[in-house]
Symmetry: D2
Subunit: 362 residues, 4 copies
């Protein structure tokens, strides 16, 4: 499957690839690793050079699909390979700091799955290490490359929503238990999307949660964020629902946007504010009417976000341009997660985020 | 339009009405009053005897529709009419205690629009007054008569959901500004529905909110409630959205229910938990699959909740049976509102509800 | 319930009613009659003067609701009442010609439920009788007053669709068996809507059908109409489906409109043609994309069509202006039904409509 | 990308592949060819041996993606390769007979894109050739491998629908103009699905159509089919709509199924017949209620149909078992297309299908 990057394969589109493809090592072949592998193989800018995976069964599963790419159990062996340009880290959050700092120290560009790290201290350390070594450090906030999210951002940037008043978000996964809890697992999606859409720091966080099966390991949580401008956001996350929910509502002074990632070709719906609505004259009119203006459902490109994310990673390495999912955004996301976990330990008390901290490297 | 209750009208169905209809006075002809008037006229157990309304324009609007029913500007005149059995109060929340206590003291049964009163002290006073005088006091929690809400309650009662884990609720109205704020205006719906569905008291409340147009008068608020069994509920309410949202998700150990009051004939959707879901093999399968089991969309009767509420009010007066929307539920709803407003004044700190208080009269 | 038109009632809005209300007799209190009665009572321009109904149970059901309006079993008695201005005929189609011609001959304006009559000969006779007597004859094509239908007509009239290419329509009812068959029962809706939307005559009709329970009494039928400009329309109708379907798709050179009468507040959806769509690169993109441009879901007023229809009837009687649902449109609808039934008897052969016939009175 | 079938690749799952993979040549790399190529590469039972494509640009596009598989402009060269087991034909319908018969004569198993051929004579010839040579001939009716279609078939087979009364189908594509017209392009999907679901021959066909841009090359067509048991089906197809429509409704005596291929995870909806529905009491209840029983939305597997089709092709070659999309079904589909085109030339007159013909090879 790597044949595309074979010398005979590249000759057909020389103009598209002025450089030889970046040689990539993927670390971890668990839930997300196979998606990284598939997309690395398909992207012309990248070449899969190695997999790092200690588990034999996973290594065998990989080799069944990609027999001509070497698998190493030992990270050092991978990092010692000077032909490797960059490392993609798809291991559990607890391990991100150790692996990413080793890779950065070895001079590799690094893309780390979300969250960038487990603590602000760890994340700050990674950001500094990357800056000091002139390397790209990119957190894998895949939703920042999702076409509907970018359609929403475009609507906000073009002033279509007016002033943003508040945001609600629900994210419920069919996913498996993670030892780091539901906030660390799911909230990075909502937080990174909100930081990207609103383009301003979070100033206060409060959280409540319920742990049903294991103490201090919540499966459902509710977060409330306050942003610098006063925008408030409420986030509902859980692992327990039998239906995937990924819905965000952004209400502005001019329009409201509903973004439902599970709604196929109608994932973004824009509600005009319309005119004042009269009280309905009877029960029939009441039931028939739930909005005050037109709805527009813009056409959104159908493209796989992870492929666009890897394209941006390659572009950032080649050109030095800051990637859309940049390290500072990853750090701020970690800071919000940390604050939410602090609030949780204090029975839901609001936790302020230090402005100095959250925009340290900005 | 009151002709139906005219003597010549009643002779056609004597068996349905063993008693002469209850004579009803409606107080207030603003947003909700016309709905009460229309339904009182249509219900065979009731007869519209008078309207109490001080505003001349509203009185004229009423008389245009119902010319042969007297309008009085003065409440005392209405309460002095011994032929009047019951009073429906559809005035602003601040006035509920004064009007309802006057009516109860005059020996009238009383239905008060939600919330029952502005404070626990006021609500407790009304409950005691009704008990002492042997009169029906009923808060107008209309959603307790909504067919979809009752379908959800039936599913919970029959064990279809298993153990309830958590609830999320979003309620966004196209409604007008109310001087008492969005929590007092909208949250009574969610709270009363949850008290009815879960049938257990709330033990803790926290709230955050944003006031955009007028200080200390929030237009958007987020509430988190904890119930006695540990069930947690997150409620998002606002006046600012240009689309009416009325969605509640109840996740249990066996099934999940999605109740969307704006979804016409598909307002209740039940999601089976199904089997464990495998990781999708590619982006296409990923996009295609958002659930793990079957969905059932039960047929729900199409009936106007307010009409059923008035029927229950009449039945309670006639038979002494406690109405579904009973005074204690109204009092608990007020206690949760009060706790949410306290939490709000303390920057979102959680507020515990005294068990003695919330089940005082139970 | 007629109190609104009582002298004391009218004084509150004299400017709205320069004339005393038109006195109306309703003939037939079966499936549709109660809706006519309710709306006559609610419309300020009309006053319910009498019901004509031979069935005792139905008469009693009416009197229970409207005790102070007389019921007559005999049509002649009603027609002899000189205070009655107009007659609404809600009896089976077979009886339309006899009742309507008697009423017109007695000098009454007439609104007849659809279809206007069972044959072109009958319908032509009624049209001539009305013209000769200077009376309003209006077929009750209620959908011509439906807000979504009028939104579609507005889109066509304003050129938003461009040239109309073709129309598809599905109409499935939960309704009861009618002795005249499903074409006579349901197709008048589709045909009258199409005549109204396209504003041109039908030139050819073919039909096929299936009779499952009774020979020659089809429960499901498919009609294909060709209009003068070449527009072609396919209509699917049935009584057998357990779900009400009322969907029409109008495809034009610029846009396409989907009109789904069961879709509550999203009954009209406008699809932009958009740009040429590239072949999707993989199964995921294929599944995600089903359209080439934006969708607009215009807000549509929530109003009861039958109330607007009665308003138009009153206006036509008062002003002489041709009503939207006019006699010629009713005649053309009958002509198409007749042609479809002819095609059916000839195993689906296409039947041409004589231009002279279909626009005779135009 | 063919590395998976390389010796070193196979050693990881020897039990899954008792035979070496079948060596496949794909003929044609236009709209559909790339999908075949991608799926051949991904299926373990198959190995892509060659592409046959005369167009240089398409050949280059292929080589860019699959550089190590040879491309030949000449069919004979491909057919002369004795290591090639089977040929997949993805060229225009006019060429199917010539290419498929050459391939069968050369001893290759053949999968031909739909329709199998342009005429019954051609299709019959191919069927006989395959039978005489003991080779698998399979038309590419991909929808027969679609999980929702198979869920519908399962419902019918298990008697859940009861007796099938009728079927309606709408299929509108965003597709490009095809020289063979919309019936030849789109109707094979509906016809093959219906033959598969109902498992009985078509006895009569009538068709009407409209050609807007080129004479005698319709872009929109309506077909009515009668099946042996009396089931009737109406099919609406077009190239002109800006929204992909793929909806089929199957109404039976017990239940109705709505199959919407664009509805992501809710593509199959089953409507219970439920109880008799009362006339709604008012406009509100009328609008709220569009069905008489519960709806069940069964979970359907998310799998790419084309991959399953190729798996079935391989299994048929290996085991001799008749594939689900078998040659006789392909022949019957061609017969219905031919009859529809005949009806069209005779202004929509119904055309009977000879029973001997349609089940000739059964």
């Amino acid at each position: 499957m790597t044949a595309r990057k074979h010398p005979t394969g590249r000759r057909f589109a020389p103009s598209l690839e002025q450089h030889p493809p970046l040689r990539i090592a993927v670390v971890g072949y668990g839930y997300w690793g196979p998606n990284l592998v598939r997309n690395v193989i398909e992207r012309p800018e990248l070449e899969l050079a190695a997999l790092c995976e200690r588990d034999d069964a996973r290594a065998a599963a990989f080799l069944q699909k990609v027999p001509d790419v070497p698998v190493h159990a030992d990270l050092d062996t991978v990092l010692a390979d000077e032909t490797i340009d960059a490392v993609l880290v798809a291991t559990p959050p607890r391990t991100h700091h150790a692996i990413a700092s080793a890779a950065l120290s070895a001079g590799k560009h690094v893309l780390v799955e979300k969250p960038l790290a487990r603590t602000v201290a760890e994340a700050t350390d990674l950001v500094e290490l990357a800056t000091d070594n002139g390397l790209v450090l990119m957190p894998g906030h895949t939703f920042l490359y999702s076409p509907p999210v970018n359609k929403v951002r475009e609507l906000i940037d073009h002033g279509k929503l007016g002033e943003v008043y508040f945001v609600t978000s629900s994210r419920m996964n069919l996913g498996k238990y993670q030892p780091d809890g539901v906030i660390c697992d799911l909230a990075p999606h909502d937080i990174s999307i909100l930081l990207y859409l609103l383009d301003q720091p979070v100033t206060q966080v409060s959280a409540s949660a319920r742990s049903i099966f294991r103490e201090h390991n919540p499966e459902v949580a509710f977060l409330t964020l306050t942003f610098a401008s006063g925008v408030t956001a409420n986030i509902q996350i859980s692992w327990l629902a039998p239906r995937k929910v990924r819905e965000m509502v952004i209400v502005g002074s001019k329009r409201m946007v509903q973004y439902d990632d599970t709604a196929a070709d109608e994932s973004v719906r824009v509600f005009d504010r319309g005119m004042e609505v009269e009280a309905p004259a009877n029960f029939g009119e009441f039931q028939l009417s739930y909005r005050s203006g037109d709805i527009v459902v813009p056409r959104v490109e159908a493209a796989e976000p992870l492929s666009l994310e890897l394209q941006d990673f390659a572009r950032s390495i080649r050109t030095g341009v800051v990637p859309r999912s940049h390290a500072q955004l990853g750090l701020e996301t970690v800071a919000v997660i940390e604050a939410a976990e602090t609030s949780l330990r204090h029975n839901g008390e609001p936790v302020a985020l230090a402005p100095a901290l959250v925009r340290a490297a900005a």
